[in-house]
Amino acid sequence: MVALDTEPRAPVRTGTARRRRTPVTWVRGGGLTTLLFFLPLLLSFTLFSWWPIARSLVLSLQQTNFIVTEWVGLENFQRVLADPLLGTAVWNTTVFTLIALLIGFPVPLLLAVFVAELRRTRGLASVLAYLPVVIPPVVAVLLWKTFYRPDDAGLFNTVLGRVGLGPFQWLNSGDMVIPAIVVQATWASFGTAVIIYLAALMTIRTELYESAEIDGAGVVRRFWHVTLPQLRGILLIMLLLQLIGTFQVFTEPYIMTGGGPENRSLTVLLLIYRYAFVSGDYGRATALSLLLALALGVLSAAYLWATRRWSSS
């Protein structure tokens, strides 16, 4: 998939003719060893990524029960686009992604800046921030499902009840279900972002802060004029990764709500899952997978194009 648009350049030789590359020179040059080391990677990618992708492409044009297979052209795509649930799923997923960006993007950054300021307890703080990531996702989601219990006995309702709020319906409420899932998902994943930002923060030269301080910049202006511009490369790529990641949210709604109530937390991936494993309709499932991949690809390309000025520093 990764393509370079330049030919491999031969070393520039003066005085002698360019020597032709033959299999013999390739082997002598260590080509065989390179290939040997490359092979496991190549094989595992082919077997577990590229082959399934190719198969999906084929399956999306077929109707199959895995015994008899029939080519149906674009019918699967038509059936996906005609499904009234598709609109619901796309809307829910978009709302999820936007709220996840709103909460999930600034929180780890601010936390990383805060942790970076700590001296003695920085290690401890990073460990604490990263801890939720270590908990297996299914366990974490099930744990939060009980936290969100809608009666008085739920953890959140108990705590909020102490200050006279609630009880809230959380996952049982069509309006609260997506924000509630976003909070859980953010909690579960922000540790990784904190660690990455922290690493990036460590590479910012301290002289920049010193000279800003001499120029009279306060904490906020130093963050705005030094930290953010220095992190922009990593911020841009993290934003893109988060966009792609959150658009494919599955585990949380699958375990917490099954898409309910009334499909208010049905996401695109959950719909794909239902096509494949509830209806046994792999043609439709792969067609929607391809449409999702295409949409994310276009979105990513547009994003990279729109931010090309900022990213090429």
Partner: protein, 461 residues
Amino acid sequence: MTRRYVRLSTTLAITLTTALSVTACGDDSEPSSGGGPADPDAPVTISVSNMPTTEFPEQREAFERRLDEFAADHENITVEAQEIEWEADTFQAMLAGGTMPTVMQVPFTEIGALISRGQVADVTDHLGETDALDRLSPTVMEVVTDGEDRVWGVPIAAYTMGLLYNRSLFEQAGLDPDAPPQTWDDVRAAAQAIDAGTDAQGFATMTLDNTGGWILTTMSYAFGSTLESDDGGTATVDNPATESVLDFYRSLRWDDDAMGSNFLLNYDDAVNAFASGQVGMLVQGADNYSNMVVNRGMPAEDFGVAPLPQADDGIGTLGGGTIAVVNPRATPEEIAAALEWIDFYHFQKYTDETVAVANAEASAADGLAIGAPELPVVDAELYAQYLDWIAAEVNVPRENFELYLSTVEEVPLIPEPAVKAQELYATLDTVVQAVLTREDADIAQLLGDAQSTHQAAIDAG
């Protein structure tokens, strides 16, 4: 420019790789026709699923003993046993990868879809080669028979949907556990009493993963209507009986507040809540004794099961159970051998006292329930004889299921919707969720929408 191009390609590659999570690798070889004549003496090898795991050593040993006995009786048939069990998530992959065992056990709820997708073998022409069919109960056989009288599997265990109730909660609420509710008004009154007199909620119904629609369908039968025409061509979701069921839910939920507070319940949530005494009544498979008592630790004396109450127009109840199906790629010889095995392993206990007693002893030694309520898959006479043989091994309080056991054959068994049952259940899940989570839910509107959604699904073919 190059760098951006590389980055873009990488991104696209990542996107493609992650987004295409649902794929499968397949072997698209043509199926063999299941209908041809089989040579009864040709050497043949079949594989069978559901071998007891090492967690149940006595049963496993009994299974292996039966394997040896089968081998001695059928010299030309080699049986390879596997521990594989049915899972909706893995079945298609097994089929695609060619690793589906020759004989596989699947739940009643799946058979309709498997038949319509052509993912099980037609066993009709081979049934005559064993005695199995003659002994099977016709009600149960309907589940595996299509409109053209072709048979697609052999039911090996069955149950009817009933009303599960917690006997201890009944007592605490001042109700008589030996006189379970027999009308839906009784159910509502009992739910109110349990809610008022105990810490538990009176009634619960599942709402997720198609179970909400499954139970709504069952309840609709009890209130007087199916949800599809008999041929499956027309959706009849919008009918007065289903509306009454939803109204019944609405009263229990919003007028009586007797259904607790969590309305996103899947199967495990609901049975765990029932087994742990948090729920007074639940519409579920009447075969749940083992699941509740043996698997989930409910006190045996608390488990009660009553027949599903029938409204005046009630037409019956839904059935459930396990069906032995045959791999659609099996050759005629393999199908014949598969049926020999099914007959030998699952039905000999009804005709051979030694086998019946040995099986029951092994199960009892592993701590499993013997004599729990079920719907006989063989005729009443054979079943009574079987119960007589294993009487000494019965380890469940059958007197607590008196009403269910004495009427199990009287409540008509209504099959699942013929076309796209799982899709229908998924559509109905949201209807049930709406009624339970929104006080202002418009039942007529919800049913109207579900009707058009399901009709569209049927028409889409």
